[in-house]
């Protein structure tokens, strides 16, 4: 831990969760140093967040220490288009499948990873689905028909509106009757 604190500006998110920042160019060196000089030896997860308004991805390499009791986030910014990262498969075997997943879901290229082919999708030619600009609802409207089942062709929204207005009207009438002396029973 002391090594971390003197080398990087460590952000302590939680008593057992720390975060440091680095760049795509120095990612390998950072991870090598951290894994050799500190307790954080295992790569547990590679998470990616799409900050579309800032035109960048933020990848989070989550390291776990030998006792599996503390976690360290290594955050790497990456431009949304044209950026690429070095693959970590040579250092962490489990990184291969995680990078394969991210490549399919975000289109991020990991240089040196030879398994960047179909992972969960089969012949997907659209925008990588986890990118923010991919609108799943529009895709569904275009490809499937999920609103079938009402054979009377009524629009559910219109019907709901009508019922709401009816209820409002009934309420108003009930109040009027309540105001009239020895009035009719409240509502019906």
């Amino acid at each position: 831990m002391t090594y971390l604190y003197e080398q990087y500006d460590v952000q302590e998110k939680h008593p057992r969760l720390f975060a440091i920042r680095t760049e795509a160019s120095t990612l390998i060196e950072t991870l090598q140093e951290v894994t050799t000089h500190t307790e954080f030896v295992t790569l547990a997860q590679i998470a990616c967040t799409d900050w579309i308004e800032e035109e960048r991805f933020e990848l989070t390499y989550l390291l776990t220490d030998r006792a599996r009791s503390r976690n360290l986030m290594v955050k790497v910014p990456l431009p949304r288009t044209g950026g690429s990262l070095p693959s970590l498969a040579f250092r962490f075997p489990q990184a291969e499948v995680m990078e394969r997943d991210l490549h399919e879901m975000y289109g991020i290229v990991f240089e040196g990873n030879t398994t960047l082919y179909d992972f969960v999708l089969e012949g997907w030619h659209d925008i990588p689905p986890m990118r923010r600009e991919f609108d799943t609802l529009a895709y569904v409207r275009e490809h499937y028909d999920f609103q079938r089942g009402r054979t009377d062709g009524k629009d559910v929204k219109v019907e709901q509106k009508r019922r709401r207005e009816e209820a409002k009207k009934r309420k108003a009438e009930a109040q009027q009757q309540a105001q009239t002396p020895e009035g009719a029973p409240h509502g019906e």
Partner: protein, 368 residues
């Protein structure tokens, strides 16, 4: 050499596969020459759907991520949201959550026992253990209204209070299970055929296990004592006393023995929970309105010890009421690819189902 290899797909439509996935095997005779895992048959794009839903809407679908044991997912989601929004939950709610976790762990272990015994053609044990699992699901139904998907562990506490006399019924169930466990020992864990089949099969190397980030029984089966409930305690696990069973064979049989011990430990924990749970106390914190429930721009990683190992969520908020990003890391992601593909090489075709069951690989959490 190459032309003597036969390539077969072990799954997805195959009785010996754990869930809807497939392992592509290059066989030389019946010996596996190369194995490659294929997933994606269950991909629903949860992480995309959650980006479109508010916190409360996302809470209803998050439990679908892992079908055999949905509660670690709810626990992770709730803890991640609480960590981001800075919510502290009451002690009673924490005890109830621990109870739910251990019940789901017991149910998952019993389900695993059914699969493992079925993988060596010993249906009898599976029939008994699934019956006992169903008794636990009945309790879940009384508690949450759902058999499999509970939607109970909620950001800020739990959704409902315990029904009348629930803890008494839970105690009776535990008595029943304690009567059953020796039966399982006699018929399954000490069964000659299981020993003959499982000892020395699928051996994991301890150093590799630590370096490659294997979790759960894969670690504890080769002599490494790691358990998030002890190493990175959440809820009230630091107030409960329980052992972490460890066996150092590294093979399928050691993993089975680890699970056997964990069932006993879960029962022990549940008994302590029944004894210690405060009778009074709020079960739910006051939460902002549905549309006002915003998460700050920050990210967090929370992990729960599921029945098969560490189950982690990465969650990032962006100041709106929507979750910007939630990434799931189940134990099966590493076990299903890095570990399984290396373990199967050189094994017999007969042992594929055995090894997959012992690792407890669950495809829906690989592909979400």
């Amino acid at each position: 050499m190459e032309n003597r290899l036969v390539t077969i797909f072990h799954g997805p439509q195959h009785p010996g596969i754990t869930g809807n996935m497939s392992v592509e095997l290059d066989l030389l005779g019946e010996t596996i020459h190369r194995a490659r895992t294929h997933v994606g048959y269950l991909h629903r794009g949860f992480e995309k759907l959650i980006e479109r839903r508010t916190v409360i809407q996302a809470f209803t679908i998050v439990c679908r991520i892992c079908v055999p044991e949905p509660d670690p997912n709810e626990e992770n989601f709730a803890r991640a949201v609480e960590g981001l929004a800075g919510i502290e939950i009451s002690e009673r709610a924490q005890y109830i959550r621990v109870m739910v976790q251990e019940m789901s762990r017991l149910a998952a272990q019993l389900l695993w026992m059914g699969g493992q015994s079925g993988s060596i053609g010993l249906e009898t044990v599976g029939q008994w253990s699934l019956y006992d699992r169903d008794l636990i699901l009945d309790l879940f139904e009384q508690l949450t209204g759902g058999r499999v998907y509970h939607m109970y562990t909620y950001p800020g506490g739990v959704r409902r209070d315990l029904p009348e006399g629930f803890l008494r019924r839970l105690g009776e169930l535990l008595d029943h299970l304690e009567k059953q466990l020796p039966r399982y020992d006699r018929t399954f864990f000490d069964n000659a055929t299981l020993r003959k089949r499982a000892i020395g099969v699928g051996v994991i190397d301890p150093d590799e296990a630590l370096a490659n980030g294997y979790v759960g029984q894969a670690l504890r089966g080769c002599g490494i004592r790691r358990d998030l409930r002890r190493d990175n305690p959440y809820l009230v696990y630091d107030r409960l006393e329980f052992d972490i069973p460890v066996f150092d064979g590294g093979d399928v049989y050691s993993r089975a023995l680890v699970r056997r011990g964990e069932m006993r430990e879960s029962i022990r924990i549940l008994r302590q929970v029944i004894a210690q749970m405060p009778a009074e106390g709020a079960i739910m914190q006051k939460l902002p309105k549905h549309r006002k429930f915003t998460l700050p721009r920050d990210d967090i990683y929370v992990a729960t010890e599921s029945a098969r190992g560490e189950f982690g969520y990465y969650m990032a908020g962006d100041g709106s009421e929507y979750i910007r990003r939630m990434q799931v890391k189940g134990p099966s992601l590493i076990h299903g690819f890095t570990l399984l593909e290396s373990l199967l090489v050189g094994e017999e075709l007969s042992n594929v189902a055995l090894i997959m069951n012992s690792l407890g690989i669950c495809p829906p959490e690989i592909e979400r």
